[in-house]
Symmetry: D2
Subunit: 351 residues, 4 copies
């Protein structure tokens, strides 16, 4: 009954099975194997375009390496102030870019807007040697607030990026969750809208530890291989990364997992709306819920053994609840019931 994050979960059985299946016999190392080739081929089909795909094991590596292709060391990367790259990666983008600057902007429900970016870039001192130079925009899809950029949102932001000659990165640690919510074509919310590089997440959605850096603008791909190796993110037994991604894509497991997680989140949100005093901070569009609950309900849930984060600090009543590929409906039901029961008791006492 752990709703802390989608990274407290294990892996999908299909993905574990794929590791065993990949284990037989000698295979060329460092990615010169058929499995790795097949993962790239699958991604080309899914995204309906030529692309270069590089498996890595963590989202931080995927993001930081991606950004290092899009900015010089004296560049600036524009992102939401709650973006994982800005607050949860211990400065990995700065490390990988040789000290580029993250310009973090506010934005309702975790989203940036084209007009806001346009304004910020107009003031950014382009060509002025004293200022870092705008080089990239990074969007998170789904956002850190559990919402999703619509295809038009992405396209409008990409237009701004192109206007200023910037690269556009998408942190897709929860890309599948956004995709199934939007019921969109993967191409339409990425390269067709103007995304240059996508961190295509799998770990949070059923893999053990696997992400793919998907580079749509292939001329930017040339240096990726060197950067990945130099950072120690090139696996010698690459088959074991690729096997995870292969199984993740096989038979649309990735979409199935994301649909389940989203459905559980939606059910949880709907159930909690019946709790007196409960309010949602953001629309629930993916697998995360940000809900304000009465303190008594929170304490009761904790006493009942549910685990979750108080989002803004230990004295706050805003909770983040994350559903995952393996969240059980029974746990969701039990969570709602517990919240209702404890909230009701509090009201009785007050009454």
């Amino acid at each position: 009954m752990n709703f802390c994050s989608d990274n407290v979960t294990g892996a999908s059985p299909e993905i574990l099975a794929a590791l065993s299946a990949a284990n037989g016999g000698a295979l060329a190392s460092y990615g010169s194997d058929k499995l790795t080739e097949r993962v790239e081929a699958r991604l080309k089909e899914i995204f309906e375009t030529d692309l270069a795909a590089f498996p890595v094991a963590t989202g931080t590596a995927a993001n930081a390496l991606s950004l290092s292709l899009l900015t010089p060391s004296w560049g600036a990367i524009y992102c939401h102030q709650d973006a994982h790259i800005a607050v949860d990666e211990c400065g990995a983008p700065e490390f990988y870019t040789g000290g580029a600057k993250l310009v973090d902007l506010p934005g309702e429900h975790g989203k940036l807007t084209a007009s806001q970016l346009s304004d910020a870039l107009a003031r950014s001192g382009k060509g002025v040697v004293h200022q870092v130079q705008a080089a990239a925009i990074s969007l998170t899809q789904a956002t850190e607030a559990g919402t999703a950029y619509r295809p038009d949102d992405v396209a409008a932001i990409a237009d701004v990026a192109r206007g200023y000659g910037l690269g556009l990165h998408m942190d897709g640690a929860r890309f599948a969750n956004a995709l199934v919510f939007l019921d969109a074509n993967p191409a339409d919310i990425t390269w067709r809208a103007g995304v240059d590089i996508l961190s295509f997440g799998a770990t949070k959605n059923g893999a053990l530890a696997a992400e793919a850096v998907v580079i749509f603008d292939k001329k930017r791909a040339e240096e990726f291989a060197f950067r990945r190796k130099r950072a120690g993110h090139l696996f010698s037994k690459m088959r074991f990364l690729s096997a995870q991604l292969d199984a993740y894509l096989e038979g649309d497991l990735w979409l199935k997992n994301a649909r389940h997680a989203n459905a559980m989140a939606k059910r949880l949100a709907e159930g909690l709306m019946a709790v007196p005093g409960a309010t949602l901070a953001h629309p629930v569009e993916a697998n995360e819920i940000f809900v304000d609950l009465p303190e008594t309900a929170i304490r009761g849930l904790t006493a009942d053994g549910f685990q979750f984060y108080r989002w803004l600090g230990e004295d706050k009543t805003l909770l983040r609840l994350v559903a995952a590929h393996d969240t059980k409906e029974a746990d969701v039901t039990a969570f709602i019931a517990s919240a209702k029961r404890h909230a009701a008791r509090a009201n009785e006492r007050v009454a």
Copy 2:
């Protein structure tokens, strides 16, 4: 019949099984789990001392992160000219240290000596602001030549390191292979001899992708956690790294695997000594063989489907042959037979 490297192999069945066993239920992420704790506890037992252990997924990450603890950016790291850190990591140590310099020295059979290091350090310009400052020594155990430093070798080099105030790193990508050859106590060839940080390898010896950075000098460990995270090498689902290491150590699987690989290498070497014209470039002390074979034998072996590297380039007759945890005795026997057969035919033609 692939003798290219110990990284073309798959994983030990016990390690794959451990992944499945670790998969059940929610578990705290980022290493705050019991499995990760147990790996550290096991390593404390094995090395008979307190220590800090940090799982990472690649040897390059283990080495480069380790070295970043031992040198400032204006420091120099002394190593063998064939060391993995010097020639096979695309500059990862330079990246992680902010541009420290590798001073690479020659040395017979892949080994550095205390007297050679002492001489080099005496000329190193200590305190002179124009020169990078000697900061660390890195030894590879087993070496890139398939040989092993004796405990006394390590201790003598550690004495030199201490005399100059340097840190001592050991690249133990094949630590187990050296250990079983030496029939030594793990503590005696590491911290008791003066090693500060060990890259404790598992990937080449049966894991999928797992190494542990073992920090004996715990005051140096404080910053490791931040450096690992910042580099994208902290796994969210850490259980899957730790499970590999746990199974690797359980029941001495690591030693069993290394003994097998070494035995196969020894058998291969002995067999090849019966091939006319064959000579060994280095003593065979671990799981690697460097053997000079007649060109006809090499071509014949290739024709028979054996895979291996010509070590110094495509026109050279020095081969590197690597045995691994899963090398089959039958393949070794076949290799020897093929080599003999083709060498003999060549002699017939000459005669």
Copy 3:
């Protein structure tokens, strides 16, 4: 009639003369000369304490090198959002620190406060591996708004810094201007208040190109020499940097220059207050004035040949006017007269 900045000026004649005086004969290079020694001795007297002083040629070098002593690459430096290090150095602090993060905070009249820093640091995730770690605070004295921190302000902020184990840096590009305004003892607004490292500026106040990094916490000085050399900021003919600083300090030239600049700024501010519609954005405590003037006055001044910056952009009526060591009283008088005349005409037209 150029009020753009104190860096559009030339050098004090005394400082130019010192270069010639230093020119005779051979002298040990790289700072092993008597002049460099004397500069350090003078600074020890002025600051009434032991210290280490390192001449460099630019303020950006002084600041960025100083900060590199106070933070690891995964650290955060807290500063005002208008600080030179945050907006005018093209990311030099990020470059020199290996990618540390500047956390820029707002603050009235260019100043940070102890309580604001205390609040920010309480939320900073100390010890949390996912977040960069607070490592230093940088204050600008005089500030970018032309104001000065009082000794108590500095001490209160230093208390916060100590409480969190942070280093305290002072960007003193206009240190002399603040000092003479405060009529303070140099020690009292630096090390006695808790400053660890001071970028002691001279360039803006009469030197050609000379600053001294003054390190009060001498154990932090050990690595400075290597960092300076490695960055190409160690002059071979150091005498020519030191001679500037020596003449700057000789006979209190630095204080005399700053008093003149401040007096000119004060006179300018007072005069402009008589211009209808003119308002000051900040108290005038050093040599900079931020004044809002009617658009007609601005255009008139430009037509009359005065040079200055519109501070927030080309469509804004807030001007920054900077007085310097060599600003002529007649120019100040002429500026005021021009502003009055053009503002009055505008009123006539309106009437």
Copy 4:
């Protein structure tokens, strides 16, 4: 009577005078001034081509910034093992390039050869992800051994560079000394021969602290301005750097100074050849002499007050003697006489 280096000298009177001449009135900062423009124009004339020129204050800055334009962080820079960038800059190239590798090669009389580079590059693992990628060659002109590359030497090496797609940098800290020795056209030993970037030295040849980075391949120049600023090497009062370079070039002062230094070195070398037991280690082609002298002569010279370096260590009899723009003929004569006298006495004693 100091022959330690050409950086123990002062500045040419003409250059000091130029500083005073540049001091009058306000002038746009950061290089937007006429003097800086004129320096670039003069360099265009001298090199008979369009180019971009950036003044900086030190040779280390000139070299390291130049190299940062020519290599990615995973690149390798090929240079002579005695090159200033390899042994005297405390790792500045590594710092500025984000950790690129210097591959230092031996070479008679301080010179690399085209065939040697060609061999080394053929073995460099181009395109192999595990190895750093050859990116640039750096030549020193005049070399650290006091010799000069002939135009054909440079052209042959440039051919190799082009063949491998490498940039070609020339460290011209003593460019003028080589030029006057070769009696060459500046264009012929730089861009026409294939040099992309030249560190055009002035400090050692009469300036206080001034070098120009001359970028012939202007498309590489775009990023230089940002890199220079970000490193703190952009002077606010740029006029004082440019004035030095302007006076240095005016009336061929730079050639006059270099001719004098070379003549003094030649005279010194010829004189010392009459000392019994004296041998030259390298041809004397610029302003440096490497001479092996009898120990008694060395001690006698020291006792007579002459200063110089024993080149390979305190127990070695190879001296480096450097003549400069202001070396007095009388000092040279006195040095020779002292050496002869002390060497003769030793012989008497032996006899």
